[in-house]
């Protein structure tokens, strides 16, 4: 293993780098796909052109973000094999079919209907187009379902047996898919994606309200986003708490690192902040609230909480990273809920569109979801070290027999390419978001213009929906 250590570290850095870049895009596009479906649905239902303008506005942004998600995701699907081939061989019989289902039920659905959603409105008419948008949104959720099942199985492996060549094989597929941490992680992540999108949409709406508080589209998106913040952020805090209790049951070492507990204790305090030191096994300069740790985790004042010293050093996650990233995530979650409550207050007073400080705060908070998602994933992924399959297969055993120079060269290439390409993409996204949303993108529902040389696609549902809407 020692001659492999260098390649191992490089492979880990490469995985962390590529997956961190990747998760940013799905975190946004899962939420945005659902938001687009809601906007189009509202447009078809109310015939309010503001919804259609917003749909067109965010659709173009979605296309760019989704494209970056696709290309960074293809990298992930091959990296298991190039850099983690031992892991791939051993877990393939279990994780492979789950990922196969992700491709079949999610990726094809998204990709198949994306073209129609982006380019096909005039060709298929509004109703079929809405169906395409719904399929894209459902596809992103299916994708989240399967990939979180995969990740959760690695965190809480159950329903498996080990065959004569050392592979994990399924003993009970139902148990594998719906493994103990899966439902919690799925809910937590989908809510996180929705919140991430809500804060981006809210921030963009606020930015344009600050420049023109009468802009109808900006008002609509700002209001919709802050409803989401007010409703979903508190739900997310509860979901996160329940997820944490589930982690305590299945991965107590991770929770010990999150909490910064080295010693097992009854009536454990809640450490608000400090500097964990794995060498000396203490948290320096800590600020703590007595008993609150036990109260949160065990719901009793003198509940026992295991400390990291209960595990041999080689089986512990690095406490400092987990400790900090967890606090970052929770802090942002609290700020999100606070902004949500503030917006309710302003809404109640009728100053939602006039309160400049609320709008400035919304602009400032626009990227907060991404930071929280990354911090959350760092917490859970670093917290499950030193294992890839928790308690069964270590990260060091999982790596491919690849020479360090190969991994080093590809890592450097990834860093350059990702910063250049996704940097440019982020620049374009920001530029698109800075464009004032206007209502001049009306689409005349009565007579879709026919493209020359294209056989007209008759749309029997067009006039019908028109009369239904009583427009």
């Amino acid at each position: 293993m020692i001659e492999n250590a260098d390649a191992l570290l490089l492979a880990r850095i490469q995985f962390a780098f590529t997956v961190s870049f990747h998760i940013i895009f799905p975190a946004f596009s899962i939420g945005l796909a659902s938001y687009l479906a809601v906007l189009e649905g509202l447009w078809l239902w109310t015939r309010d052109q503001a919804y259609f303008s917003l749909f067109e506005y965010w659709k173009k942004i979605f296309a760019v973000a989704f494209g970056m998600g696709v290309v960074s995701g293809i990298v992930m699907s091959y990296q298991f094999g190039t850099n983690w081939s031992v892991f791939a061989d051993k877990t393939g019989p279990i994780l492979g079919p789950l990922m196969g289902y992700e491709v079949l039920s999610a990726f094809f659905l998204e990709a198949g209907f994306l073209g129609i959603m982006l380019f096909g409105l005039k060709r298929v008419g509004p109703n079929l187009h809405f169906l395409a948008t719904l399929m894209v949104a459902i596809g992103t959720l299916f994708s989240a379902f399967w990939i979180l099942s995969v990740n959760s199985w690695m965190q809480t492996p159950v329903g498996y047996a080990i065959n004569d060549v050392g592979q994990f094989v399924a003993a009970d597929w139902w148990a594998v898919v719906f493994n103990p941490s899966f439902p919690y992680r799925l809910v937590h992540m989908v809510l996180a994606a929705y919140l991430t999108t809500a804060f981006v949409v809210g921030g963009v709406g606020a930015w344009h309200l600050l420049r023109d508080r009468g802009n109808r589209q900006a008002r609509v998106m700002f209001s919709m986003a802050l409803w989401m913040a007010a409703i979903v952020a508190p739900i997310q805090i509860v979901a996160g708490d329940v997820h944490g209790l589930n982690t305590l049951e299945h991965q107590p070492a991770k929770v010990a690192a999150m909490e910064g507990h080295y010693d097992t204790q009854k009536g454990a305090p809640l450490i608000l902040f400090g500097f964990p030191d794995d060498g000396e096994e203490v948290v320096h300069n800590k600020i703590e609230i007595p008993y609150l740790g036990s109260l949160i985790l065990t719901h009793t004042l003198d509940g026992e909480i295991k400390g990291l010293k209960d595990w041999p050093k080689a089986e512990r996650p690095p406490a400092d990273i987990v400790f900090y990233s967890f606090r970052l995530m929770v802090g942002i979650g609290m700020l999100m809920a606070a902004l949500g409550f503030w917006s309710l207050w302003c809404r109640n007073k009728g100053t939602l569109y006039d309160n400049r400080w609320l709008q400035r705060a919304s602009v400032l908070m626009a990227p907060s979801g991404f930071v929280a998602v990354l911090a959350g994933w760092v917490t859970t992924e670093v917290g499950r070290q030193p294992y890839t399959v928790y308690g069964l297969l270590t990260t060091a055993e999982s790596v491919a027999p690849i020479e360090a120079p190969a991994v080093r060269a590809s890592l450097i290439a990834f860093v350059f390419v990702y910063f250049a390409v996704f940097g440019a993409g982020t620049f374009y996204l920001l530029r698109m978001m800075s464009k004032t949303p206007r209502s001049d993108q009306d689409w005349d529902i009565e007579g879709p213009t026919r493209a020359a040389g294209i056989t007209p696609v008759t749309d029997p549902s067009g006039p019908q929906t028109h009369s239904q809407a009583g427009d």
């Binding site: 296309a63 760019v64 494209g67 696709v70 290309v71 995701g73 293809i74 990298v75 699907s77 091959y78 298991f80 094999g81 190039t82 081939s85 031992v86 791939a88 061989d89 877990t91 393939g92 019989p93 492979g96 079919p97 990922m99 196969g100 289902y101 491709v103 079949l104 990726f107 659905l109 998204e110 990709a111 198949g112 209907f113 073209g115 129609i116 982006l118 380019f119 096909g120 005039k122 298929v124 065959n163 592979q167 094989v169 399924a170 027999p401 020479e403 190969a406 590809s410 290439a413 390419v417 990702y418 390409v421 440019a424 993409g425 374009y428 530029r431 493209a451 040389g453 294209i454 696609v457």
Partner: protein
């Protein structure tokens, strides 16, 4: 369920994965080909048209590549775990190239000043991706060194004159697919341009197919037996005869300026080459030592995925066909959402 259980699951999956990879080559081949031809298209508005001809469908096409990789992981994990480290450099080059070309579809429309950057990214990315796929194919054909369920070679083993040749063959072949696709989708000057390119790339593709075909039997005794020993030659000899027939269809279609027949003939050439490769390799999935049977996941895993696949795959094919149907016909130069 009972019917599925009674099947020879590794064989069924070998056929399914082979079909998925073939579909990938055919579908993404022509849209990579558009990228390869991009520098040859002089006028910017013609480039717009060429890109728009594949914009609504490229993402679906590339998903077959994810299915190929993901499917291999799922049903032939040992093949996945040995092929991917062996093909490390070409695969990573392909992935990075696909990043550039994938984002170019959107980025190119988001800037005027830097449009040339994304033109280069689209053309370079498409060409490198195609070349890497060809190199990977050549590297697999020449054999992968596996010891004790792990890749045992070095990280430059893939590089050889043969793999460079197969890389070039795939680039030229995809360019042919792209040119015939453009003929199908465009009119006027761009159509004429595509026709001229199809002539050149058609000749080039056939020449490269010829060289690769003559070289392959000498890579490994098994390939030699499959192609040149009696009585195997009676069966495998059908392939070159069909290639000749496709060639006639291709060039006759080009000469009479037909739209559809050159595209179908070019695809037919790819199908025949693919069958030829399968004849060489079968039953190995990682030549020369691992058969698809040895690489297969346990039957239980194969069955679990097959149950869903037998439902989902037909649905996928239906809505993929529908998406192609929606965007059928010649392109309207004034249409496009950008």
């Amino acid at each position: 369920m009972d019917f599925l259980e009674s099947l020879d699951l590794p064989f069924v999956w070998a056929m399914l994965i082979a079909a998925a990879v073939l579909l990938y080559v055919l579908l993404d081949g022509f849209d990579l080909g558009i990228g390869i031809l991009f520098p040859l298209i002089r006028e910017e508005r013609h480039r717009d048209l060429a890109m728009n001809s594949v914009a609504p469908i490229w993402d679906g096409n590339e998903t077959w590549l994810v299915l190929g990789g993901g499917g291999l992981f799922a049903v032939f994990p040992l093949a996945y775990a040995t092929l991917l480290p062996a093909l490390y450099a070409p695969l990573l080059a392909m992935l990075l190239a696909l990043v550039f070309r994938g984002v170019a579809f959107e980025f190119r429309w988001r800037t005027k000043r830097a449009r040339w950057v994304w033109n280069v990214a689209f053309a370079g990315g498409s060409t490198i991706a195609a070349f890497s796929q060809g190199v990977a194919l050549g590297a697999v054909l020449q054999g992968i060194d596996v010891v004790d369920r792990a890749y045992a070679g070095g990280w430059w083993d893939w590089l050889s004159p043969f793999s460079i040749l197969t890389g070039a063959a795939v680039v030229v072949g995809y360019a042919l697919l792209g040119a015939t696709w453009l003929m199908l989708k465009t009119e006027g000057p761009l159509h004429d341009f595509a026709n001229r390119v199809a002539w050149v790339t058609g000749v080039g593709t056939l020449a490269l197919i010829g060289v690769v075909s003559l070289w392959t039997p000498f890579l490994h005794p098994q390939y030699f037996d499959r192609w040149l020993s009696f009585p195997a030659i009676l069966f495998s000899g059908v392939v070159p005869v069909l290639v000749a027939a496709m060639t006639v269809v291709l060039f006759r279609g080009l000469a009479t300026k037909r739209d559809l027949s050159p595209f179908l003939a070019a695809n037919g050439l790819f199908v025949l080459c693919y069958i030829g490769i399968a004849i060489s390799l079968y039953p190995n999935i990682v030549p020369p030592s691992i058969s698809y049977r040895a690489a297969a996941a346990p039957d239980d895993s194969l069955l679990f995925l097959l149950v869903g696949t037998s439902v989902l795959l037909p649905i996928i094919l239906i809505y993929t066909a529908y998406a192609y149907w929606v965007f059928r016909g010649k392109l309207d130069p004034d249409e496009g959402y950008h």
